[in-house]
């Protein structure tokens, strides 16, 4: 039997609204995944470092401060530098449709905005990781 999926739930940006991140973390755990939560206000560099060090299968990034464009640019640079360029990244939070294309071009695999169902996010993770 394969090991359970390991997921890093990350909270960059200065906003402290982690309701979404904490709810998602509990849902992923109940889905059978191993979840590591970074805590608030973690820099993209530290997220990338944690993702590589913890050998996670996927990173979920929750951001509501509006700084997502800057944050994801820095995150993908940091992931590449840390040797984690193959780790898939999902985005969640208050993100305007107008920014979707930019984030996808950077490498974000899927974007979840307020009102998204937990089941859909779980399904997306299994689909992206391929198990």
């Amino acid at each position: 039997m394969s090991r359970p999926l390991r997921v890093l739930v990350a909270k960059p940006g200065l906003d402290g609204h982690d309701r979404g991140a904490l709810v998602l973390a509990q849902a992923l755990r109940d889905d059978g995944m191993e979840v590591i939560y970074t805590g608030l206000r973690v820099s993209p560099r530290r997220i990338a470092g944690a993702a590589v060090q913890e050998d996670v299968d996927l990173v979920c990034v929750s951001i509501l401060s509006g700084a997502h464009n800057v944050v994801f640019e820095d995150l993908f640079t940091a992931l590449a530098e840390a040797g984690g360029e193959d780790i898939p990244v999902l985005a969640g939070g208050v993100i305007p449709n107008a920014d979707f294309a930019h984030l996808r071009a950077l490498g974000v695999r899927e974007i979840f905005t307020p009102g998204s169902a937990l089941a859909d996010i779980c399904a997306c993770i299994h689909r992206v990781v391929g198990r």
Partner: protein, 562 residues
Amino acid sequence: MSEDQGSVAAARQRWEKDVLAPAVDKGLRPATIAPAGWRAQEGAAPLLHTPREDDGCGYLEQLGFPGEYPYTRGIQPTMYPGRLWTMRQYAGFGSAEETHERFRYLLDRGQGGLLVAFDLPTQLGLDSDDPDARGEVGVVGVAVDSLQDMETIFHGLPLEQASPSLTMNGAAAVALALYVATAEKEGLPLERISGTTQNDILKEYLARGAYIYPPRPALRLCIDVIEYCTRHLPRWNFMNVCGYHMREAGATRVQEVAFALANAITYIEACLARGLDIDDFARRIAFNFTASAEIFPEAAKFRAARRLWAKLLRERFGARNPASWMWRTGAGSAGSTLTAQQPENNIVRVALQNLAAVLGGVQSFHAAAYDEALALPSEHSALLALRTQQVLAYESGVGDVIDPLGGSYYVEALTDEIEREVGAQIARIEAEGGMLRAIEDGRAQGEIARSAYAQQRQIENGEQVVVGVNRFQDGTAPDISLHRPSAAMVDAQIARLQRLRRERDNGRVALALGRLTAEAHGNGNLMYPLLEAAKAYATLGEMCGAMASVFGKHQAHAGVLP
């Protein structure tokens, strides 16, 4: 409250004569159905309805009369028939100059109590050119880096009328120091400086996340503000204890009240440990709660909180001044219940939230704009939020009598139940070592997170209906838009800050910061060295950094989820 059972009529006569009549003499709103010229001796005033006799439910002990202990029916004798609730409005943000212009506009139109929203770097004690502030300067509020920015916002404005509300917690002491230094430069003596600081640091660890230092030194700073204000700023409202943010983070209604009151108890005990007298500070503690569209439980919540607070302050803390017993609260639309899907539905939700808060007897209400889940409110949607309040206030008649739900079997049962459950939760928190401990080891945060998850599952399995989200959807996807300050504004803010650092008296700054650091190692009140540093034009980041060099910074929540 010595009246015997069955003597409600006699007690009412006394209340009408001794409490209501003097308040009525100060005036009622013309729209109120109380007939002009009503006098206490003429019989029951129509603005309050009471039972004729006690029906065994303990009317006098549990409900009593408005403006009297235990204040279940309201803290003022005349409540809304005397004066409507304060209708708070969205205030806007931008640069310090834009904020100044906006405030001048509002003051010219007679509005005071101006709300100052700070951007996240300011709330977290970071200067605008800090690497961690990138992308966040001026986004959710105005950037204040030093006394210079505070002066730009307030120079030349009638400060006594402006009476600003500084929405700051982690760096509340710094914001207050900057404001006091500004007001003094504008010629206002300390005893006439009025305004508000939120200064409720404990809820930041529980819900909102805008903390800087670990809980204990942060609590010290928070009490420094209270002590300083008690000694020097008689007109400053130094604390707004928030249940709002915990509820928004997913707490249940009972957790909202229980955690807020447990936080307040922690502050009170810390003040008493400093040697402050309960009646010197308790009356200036106010609250900020949420109002959802669940009319009856929400109205009951405010009624229960008033009774709990009155008993707590009188019986446990021995306050003798009735003003200390009064639970004063503002309320705001429950933002987390507003949906990005079918946003017009939020207009109806906000109206119901407003009704719930008013039936609960709040002192002020902030109505959200219906498009807040999508974007910065437009002029149109902000105005519609105000009109919602006005229709309720001037057309519905809901404010023409006091506590219209009082005596309802349902609402009284809800009120009793919330009071009982909150009391039990507070007792449990205290038995387990108190709120500070519950925060430090993350237990309280965990309880809120579990409530949030339980609620989300109820929404996803359809037990809890959210119109337009999990029922009655129309298939359209919402489109969110965000406020972004112009790059030019951010660049100008940073350029001004860097020029200040070059041109100020840096010897004086170093001296002031040195004293701040030294005092942080000791036990003195940090407001005094903060004021000195503020006046020397030390930046917010330098002041907060000096304290962080002693206190450290707080990092919580990290780790593998159990």
